[in-house]
């Protein structure tokens, strides 16, 4: 790779890393772990790789459009976004900065994603989570599903506030 190309990739990566998630706007796609790669092809095309969070995540098209929009706006003439299916996205890829941004914005960050054999669980998922509003650990799940594919709905018994939790995935 020439020095010029290296500089272009670095600049493109910096710009792509600033693009935020359409549904969790306090997170960048890099913090969310969705942004997997930024590369430059021989003809100068910038190729950005993103990995879907959930199979049906409706935000993928918007992420793609936002990336293309920001990079072309920054002067890159040819930009392509490719889907990278493997390895599958996991909440373990959310960065520490991302976790802090979630908590600062009232969303409970995920714990460690389950690994190994898939077990049947007939009791509610036990998570030791703190209310992002008041910090109390006295919380209960209201629904294992929430406003977007990646969230469960919780309620704090101490302060009474409902809040979103990013489910371990």
């Amino acid at each position: 790779m020439t020095t010029l190309e290296t500089t272009a990739v670095q600049r493109a990566r910096a710009i792509a890393s600033e693009v935020t998630d359409p549904e969790l706007p306090m997170l960048t796609l890099a913090d969310l772990g969705v942004l997997r790669d930024v590369a430059v092809e021989d003809d100068g095309t910038i190729v950005v790789a993103i990995t879907p969070t959930y199979s049906g995540c409706p935000a993928m098209a918007t992420m793609r459009d936002d990336l293309v929009h920001r990079l072309t706006g920054a002067g890159f003439e040819s930009v392509r976004v490719r889907v990278q299916l493997s390895p599958p996205w996991t909440t373990d890829w959310i960065t520490d900065d991302g976790r802090k941004a979630l908590a600062d914005n009232g969303i409970s960050p995920p714990g460690v994603a389950p690994r190994g054999p898939v077990m049947l669980s007939l009791t509610p998922t036990r998570r030791a989570i703190q209310c992002p509003q008041c910090g109390s650990g006295d919380t209960e799940v209201t629904s294992e599903f929430g406003s977007t594919a990646c969230k469960a709905l919780y309620r704090c018994r101490a302060c009474g506030d409902p809040f979103d939790h990013i489910k371990e995935h």
């Binding site: 879907p52 199979s55 049906g56 459009d65 889907v83 299916l85 049947l120 669980s121 629904s143 406003s147």
Partner: protein, 308 residues
């Protein structure tokens, strides 16, 4: 991308509530175009795999997800409470996502499968497969297409569907085709979550009131006869994917486990027969599928040149 933005003259801008949302490069409110769900994914057929058979297999798994997701989405606004309404819609969304990837994979493997539309139609391949095939071309199992019953029927069917599909996907994570393997690896996490949701509700209904117990028992009598079809071998599945017959034991163990905790017994009902041995996998469906497709496909079919 730009051709997908609706353009308009600026003169009437103040009269149009959408003026600030459309054709403005700074921000936009709508998805701008179809995106190939496999954009940039290597869809080369691996050595030793028959492309047309792989496509048929992806069609089967894709149709299961698509048709069942349509049934689930019919629940929207009708669930017993808002939390369950959201849960069912989320599950349907996961399945639509799986269907989209699998139908796109089927189309890439065997373009001859894809219905042809008028020259210049922008409808992408996976949508052509979803919206422009008749019931006889669908390869989903009949359990997916059954009309919705009550909430107990929803839970009983979801438990069976997610248990069965999870067992398939767990075996596909090592599939020779990297695309199928990747779709499966992603789907396993989603399906495990669906199964837990259904399993918990199953136990709750079984051990709830006399009424909820009675309804669940009734629901099992309509769902259980469709289980044998799920574990009946077909040549395509056995050759290119997972032989369904090999899943029977595992599915039985999981269902027995849930039934034991729920304190309920499986009904002694014979399997629903096919027509001269033909079932959903062969394109032999119940009348319910035609009605479901009529509703799902009517708008797309009216606009074969439509861009959404």
């Amino acid at each position: 991308m730009s051709d997908a933005h609706i353009t308009q003259d600026t003169e009437g801008e103040h009269d149009n509530a959408y003026a600030g949302l459309l054709g403005n490069d700074a921000h936009w409110a709508f998805g701008t175009d179809f995106e190939d769900p496999l954009a940039g994914v290597d869809t080369t057929i691996p050595d030793g795999v028959d492309a047309s058979e792989l496509a048929q297999y992806c069609l089967m798994l894709g149709d299961d997800a698509l048709v069942y997701a349509q049934r689930l989405s019919e629940w929207t606004s009708r669930a017993p409470d808002l939390e369950e309404d959201i849960a069912i819609a989320n599950i349907a969304l996961d399945l639509v996502g799986q269907a989209r990837l699998l139908l796109a994979r089927a189309a890439a493997a065997d373009p001859a499968l894809v219905p042809s539309l008028p020259e210049g139609s922008p409808v992408p391949d996976e949508d052509r497969l979803a919206y422009f095939r008749d019931a006889g071309a669908f390869r989903n199992v009949r359990l997916a297409e059954q009309p919705n019953g009550d909430f107990a029927e929803l839970i009983a069917r979801l438990l069976v569907m997610s248990t069965w599909r999870l067992a398939i996907f767990q075996r596909l994570v090592d599939h020779q085709d990297a695309v199928v393997a990747a779709i499966a690896a992603k789907g396993v996490k989603e399906l495990a979550y669906h199964r837990d949701f259904a399993g918990r509700w199953f136990v709750t209904l079984a051990r709830g009131t006399g009424e909820s117990h009675r309804r669940l028992t009734d629901a099992m009598r309509t769902v259980w006869p469709l289980i044998p079809e799920l574990t009946a071998s077909t040549e395509t599945e056995s050759r290119v994917g997972v032989d369904p017959a090999t899943l029977a034991d595992e599915i039985g163990v999981v269902l027995d486990q849930v039934l034991a905790v729920a304190g309920i017994t499986a009904p002694e009902t014979p399997g629903l027969a096919g027509v001269r041995g033909r079932t959903g996998r062969h394109g032999m469906h119940s009348e319910a599928l035609s009605r479901l497709l009529a509703e799902m496909q009517v708008v797309a079919r009216a606009h074969p040149m439509g861009r959404w």
